[in-house]
Assembly symmetry: C2
Homo-oligomer: 507 residues x 2
């Protein structure tokens, strides 16, 4: 019996404030709808009587005044906003049975409308709502928010906002239960994950996703082709547009906020990977390449892309155009296969935008330091500055077991150059499945990489955090230093292992 099955047991998820922090809400009135938006922040109170408010991804789980019950899920924060938009909205043509849908965030932004979601993220980021609207209108930022996922607290991904971090979770055929995955979600967002991707592949995949969505305060991403492949018993050649489409609709109905679609893996690009050191390492890329080769036809994701746009528009799901041909080794970085696919992703970005569907573009992977900037430059040029969403990249291949670090080096660098969201890498990358500690290590490592980029980009709120911690350090206010740390528990535990000796002050 898992914690989720056992109503009498204590909740199967981690709750309670982060050490030294309390939850506060800023109330912001949305003039158009009259709604009062309660924007969460994590307040760190300091011993000198001051405090600092930090961006808070953790949802109601860290709020002692909230009732948390994983069985019933989180309250529908956005329910009324969505309903109001749908009442004002119009049925989109050709959505194949999709629900009555209001306009997407993109459509609203283009029409000059500031949605409650935009106003919410403006308050979270400390910027003007009109600036948010403008960034969404031109596609330089996205607000992934499926209208079937009202539980999520709106957030924005774009180069002119705080750099975001995604954590991957998901059960596999061999390990973990639904309850464990919900706890991984809560655990990852507790430490700062801005979005979570559910990469589950085992049994109970639909149920796992349902429980994750109903309990998630952050946008949830998926890779629909993983589930589609299970429906055809794991044989890529048996995939079809119909199986894929039905899977997308199934997941869309549940509330998935963004979907990785490897629509840029074209038949003619596959041979470009033949002489690579590590061929195709993206799972979605491998699946689609296998399908293209088996049928010697163009990818159904590419040929049916406009139908996909109509479906995603109906739910206001954001595309995350997958880099199925990303390099899996330093030797393969910035090669012809990678950049050929990127050109196609640029083409598809413009198609999706014409449907008012929001778009992110995924990036590598494994890239040496001197080739990182070129990735951002080219993505921005080809994809009209659509938010770039990269996995690391790892700056070297020689340190399995430490790839959260090899990739944080590349991640900080690429984020400084303009990448909007970083997909975390845990110490188990390339070796095995991350456990609870690995998830935390991955998230904290990526938060510090993202924050390093925020500092370098001059985000107005970034440096005040560093300054507060450094003041506490110089004043030997140890408790303040712990409470201001990204991971207060670890900082305090390390300190308590030895006496506060002289070297602790230096550096």
């Amino acid at each position: 019996m898992t914690a989720l099955d056992d109503h009498s047991a204590r909740p199967g998820v981690t709750t309670g404030p982060i050490m030294g922090s309390s939850k506060v809400h800023t109330e912001v009135r949305d003039p158009a709808s009259g709604h009062v938006l309660r924007v969460p922040q994590r307040r760190v109170g300091l011993t000198d009587g001051t405090h600092i408010d930090l961006y808070d991804t953790s949802g109601p789980y860290t709020d002692p005044s909230a009732t948390v019950d994983p069985h019933s899920g989180l309250p529908g924060l956005r329910e009324e906003w969505i309903a109001q938009r749908e009442r004002n909205g119009r049925r989109q043509p050709g959505t194949g049975g999709a629900p009555a849908a209001g306009p997407t965030q993109s459509a609203c932004a283009k029409a000059g409308v500031i949605t409650p979601e935009m106003r919410f993220v403006a308050a979270r980021e400390g910027v003007d709502p009109e600036f948010v609207r403008d960034e969404v209108a031109v596609g330089r930022a996205v607000i992934p928010a499926n209208r079937r996922h009202p539980e999520s607290e709106p957030m924005i991904i774009g180069k002119n906002f705080l750099v975001k971090v995604n954590a991957n979770i998901g059960n596999s055929a061999v390990t973990s239960s639904v309850a464990e995955e919900v706890e991984k979600l809560v655990w990852a967002t507790r430490w700062g994950a801005d979005t979570v991707m559910d990469l589950s592949t085992g049994k109970r995949i639909h149920e796992t996703r349902e429980r994750i969505l109903r309990n998630s305060p952050v946008p949830i991403g998926t890779v629909p082709v993983y589930q589609a492949l299970e429906k055809v018993d794991g044989d890529p050649a048996e995939l079809s547009w119909e199986v894929y489409r039905d899977t997308v609709i199934e997941q869309a109905e549940q509330g998935v906020d963004y979907m990785t679609v490897h629509a840029g893996v074209l038949l003619r690009y596959v041979p470009l990977t033949a002489r690579r050191v590590t061929g195709i390492v993206s799972r979605g890329g491998s699946i689609m390449a296998a399908w293209c080769l088996a049928h010697h036809r163009e990818s159904f994701l590419y040929t049916h892309f406009e139908e996909l746009c109509e479906i995603l528009r109906a739910y206001d799901i954001t595309f995350s155009l997958g880099d199925g041909l990303r390099p899996g080794a330093i030797a393969d970085a910035n090669d012809e296969a990678q950049f050929a696919e990127l050109r196609t992703l640029g083409e598809l970005t413009h198609v999706a935008r014409s449907y008012d569907v929001q778009v992110m573009v995924e990036g590598p992977g494994h890239v040496p330091l001197h080739k990182i900037a070129e990735n951002v430059r080219l993505e921005e040029e080809l994809c009209g500055e659509a938010p770039f969403y990269t996995l690391g990249p790892l700056a070297t291949d020689i340190a399995p077991g430490y790839d959260h670090i090899t990739s944080a080096i590349g991640a900080a660098q690429i984020a400084w150059h303009g990448t909007a969201m970083l997909c975390y890498v845990t110490p188990k990358e390339h070796l095995g499945l991350p456990n609870r500690d690995d998830v935390k290590t991955g998230v904290i490592t990526y938060k510090l990489a993202a924050h390093s980029a925020d500092l370098a980009k001059g985000h107005p709120r970034a440096q005040e955090w560093d300054d507060a911690l450094s003041h506490a350090r110089f004043g030997f206010r140890w408790q303040d230093q712990f409470h201001l740390a990204l991971d207060p528990e670890t900082a305090q535990a390390y300190h308590d292992e030895t006496l506060p000796a002289e070297p602790a002050k230096t550096a």
Copy 2:
């Protein structure tokens, strides 16, 4: 009773090959002296019948055919080379009782002489000996090799060679024994430390250093003012040139290869730190600032710098000009105090070079990503491209407990721009004293940062390592992947925690 005191116990240091590796020696004949140089490498044999030879810092401890006895120390690899140079050499004037001394590596290089040390490092790095000589002659690289430390295997520090990593060890008043420090030395070099600094401050400081030097295959650095301060019972105002000079000679006689000297902390620079967030965080910098303020006189390290040059020349000790005013917080990076001191370090670099003394220059510290390149540019301009030796820098202050990572992000970046050696930071930085695991984590983290820079700089031998590992990964040759990892034990342990599932192959 410690392991070092107990002759019957097994050696108190870690010996034996690194998992999957064996020690090989390349024999190189030095035509001038007739000596045959045995240059060590770590050979990783692969299951496909090939092998790859890696740079090896671990000395005889990983060589099963070597006899290791920490009581008698390592054999004097360089003894004959040094003796021959001294027979050919001349007594240097004004060295205050220093030994009959041959010319320094710098003097030899300027005179067009390729020393056995230069030939040794050329073989280690895979470059031409004449190139090594030229880099040393112009001061763009240094070979720290006190003629009283014949046990060391020569290595070179310079922007046109592999990026090096230093590990700090040292007992304190409260913890650890001499034997523990020797084991920390062996442990750090096992995982890749290119030099080790002994920052001991407690009792038995002379004895600790002696045992470290006699057992060290890598250059040893110190900060002499730490011991000088102990001689005046910890009161900086009681320091004097005489106490300092005698301490330098004491350490020089033992064989210290490079010394951190905070001679750039001038009286007039101290007020520049008044409005900083974290003032002066360098311990040596604080000591010298306190002395200057107490006496309202210019630092004796600055006023006696030429005498210091004569002493260091007599032993061929390398200066590491300390950055006593380095920033201790993001807010203080690249400020007037830091760069004023750097200008003085540039002036002193040129003085030392005129004495044929080798010079490195130390750098920060805490610097956000967008201010890192300027540090290298200015150091090269002001200090005539003397090897830059930086502590990190940390790219953010908000992650105590993870400062090996915050600093590896900055370290990879600054090394790519031209920093020649990186001083490691462990997870305990700012919080406590590193234990054995922390030392290993710090070294491995810095090796991967250094290697990321080697790749980006296009070092000819760097990428073949990544390619070998990536080939093994793509071919599912798990054992080869482990053996090629910077830390084979951790890679294998992580893998064995879970089944080799599908996600292990992706990314």
